[in-house]
Amino acid sequence: MIKDARHTMTRVTSKKASTLSAIWLIARRQMLEAIRDRSTLTTAGFLLVLQTVLILVVLAPAMRDHPAKGMSNAGFTMAFYLLVVGLMPSATAIGIASGAFAGDKERGSLMPLLVTPASNTAIFAGKVLGAILPALLYSVIGMLVYFLEITLRFGLDKLGLLPAALSVLIILLIPAIAFFGAALASVISSRVRTFQSAQNFSSFLQIVLWFGLGTLFFLVGNLGLWAFAVAVAGIYALDVVLIIVSAMTWKREEVMAKQ
């Protein structure tokens, strides 16, 4: 048996940051890294240019002729592109989360973090938050640019054509999708060895979800707005389940055992 040395030697004071503080530290560092990362910036910049061109080309014909009230063709088209410009940048959460979990593991930069006294929860939550925040930032920028472009190109009054309830649902959907991407990537990252595999699997599942949402969007006219609202609520519920499952299964012990 080992002699308990505590009574015979001075115990070294063990210090660590609080869990909340550690979550924020990890998230902030990762967010800054993602924002400075050239590939993420290039993707976000490309999407911004693409949406600008698409809107000018596709939205212009729909704007020429529209009734003054109700869900006009122009309003519906504007809402669809709001969905596109909001969702596309939120997909970067997958790349960032895959890099934070599988990528760090692959590069060996996860180990120094695991050896700190930060709890499993702090590391996991910090990494997920650090993936979601930049994705949301890009989505907000995308939507702001979209509204600005409509205002400058077609006039401020055209924004009034956007169907209010549908637009609110779309705006609520974007964080849910960013959460979904980050949580999904974190779950997959703990089961694969490389960043590329994590990103590919997560992106595939995200595309399936997008396809379902896109289909549902075009059926809103027949099914009613409630169907879209249920879908948004369903994705939030899915996020909660995914986050709980991944937080419970993500343990440094497991990560170490698989290395």
Partner: protein, 341 residues
């Protein structure tokens, strides 16, 4: 201080580490030697609070690795062969990030970062991103990160792997300095020379078990206690092996024919010869052997006595012991012939 008692770790049915017991007092270095997959890294991971032991117990800086892993991690520093940096960051920001996770105050972090940058000669690079650093510089940053919170215990897993000789020497000097700063250090290495130079104690681990442990000197002595004697001649020895083996205490005597290297094939070169034997009592046996050789007029160029190296002990522990002497002898032999020519 590190204490481990019958530490065991299983992954499913595979036992990576089996009943490992260690004691590393303050101000000392224990070198863990062993081939890849022997269990060195798993042992270090258990002791640094990253993996829970399946069996056994251990305390690190007086904290229990099983019950208080968070506290253990707060008191240890770990450096692996891969620096594992966030390479888009600059060194001060990187160290500040880790200092914050260890709960250090902004003032303490700032002071410590300045100290470490100066110590590791990184002050001139404080405004550069680490992506452009050499392997040696990255390893210095990894060491600085491991030391940011002034840990009582350090685990260095092949810290000089891939470093150029000067950078490796600097790291070794640092390890000696850290040891004198009242730290307990476990050094995992494949470099036997490094282990011999730095470690107060060496543990050789094989297939998860510690197969040899002791100070480098004691290990060498325990291995066989025999000395390798090499007698070099200017001309072929006229004495037969049978005659030499009549001297009591001479073991495994044999002649080594030297290879003539670095010469043109058409020019005949004299073939120098060398006698090798093992003896447990060189002071008694060598004078007798040399007297016999000189009686028959053998021209002796040199006599070399070699005690066993840690490499020999390691080879023996790994089950390839007998080859150790012969390989070493051949290498020395070639080197000397080249010098002669």
């Amino acid at each position: 201080m590190i204490n481990a008692h019958r530490l065991t770790r299983r992954f499913g049915t595979f036992t990576a580490v089996s009943h490992v017991s260690l004691h590393v007092p303050d101000s000392s270095v224990l070198a863990l030697l062993g081939p890849n997959g022997a269990g060195k890294t798993t042992t270090v991971r258990m002791l640094s609070g990253l993996l829970a032991p399946s069996e056994g117990e251990a305390t690190v800086a007086s904290y229990d690795v099983r019950r208080e892993p968070d506290a253990v991690r707060a008191c240890v520093g770990l450096v692996t062969d891969a620096p594992g940096l966030f390479e888009q960051m600059k060194v001060p920001a990187y160290l500040d990030f880790f200092g914050s996770l260890y709960g250090m105050s902004p003032a303490a972090r700032s002071r410590r970062i300045d100290e470490l940058l100066e110590f590791f000669d990184l002050t001139a690079h404080r405004n550069e991103k680490m992506a452009g650093f050499s392997k040696g510089m990255k390893q210095k940053v990894a060491l600085a990160r491991a030391l940011i919170h002034e840990p009582q215990v350090l685990f260095l897993d092949e810290p000089t792997s891939g470093l150029d000789p000067l950078a490796a020497r600097a790291v070794r000097e640092l390890i000696v300095g850290l040891k004198h700063g009242s730290r307990s250090i476990i050094l995992c290495t494949h470099d036997l020379d490094e282990a011999e130079r730095l470690a107060d104690e060496v543990a050789i681990i094989r297939q998860g078990h510690i197969v040899a442990r002791g100070t480098p000197t004691a290990l060498r002595r325990q291995a066989t206690g025999e000395t390798l004697v090499q007698v070099e001649f200017a001309a072929p020895c006229p004495l037969t092996l049978e005659a030499l083996q009549t001297v009591e205490g001479v073991n495994t005597a044999h002649f080594v024919e030297k290879k003539a290297t670095g010469t043109l094939p058409s020019v005949p070169q004299p073939q120098a010869l060398m006698l090798e034997y093992l003896t447990a009592q060189p002071k008694v046996v060598n004078p007798q052997v040399l007297a016999q050789l000189m009686t028959v007029g053998t021209q002796i160029v040199s006599v070399t006595c070699e005690t066993r190296t840690l490499e020999d002990v390691y080879a023996e522990a790994m089950g390839t012991g007998s080859a150790g002497y012969m390989d070493h002898g051949t290498l020395l032999d070639e080197a000397r012939v080249t010098t002669l020519i």
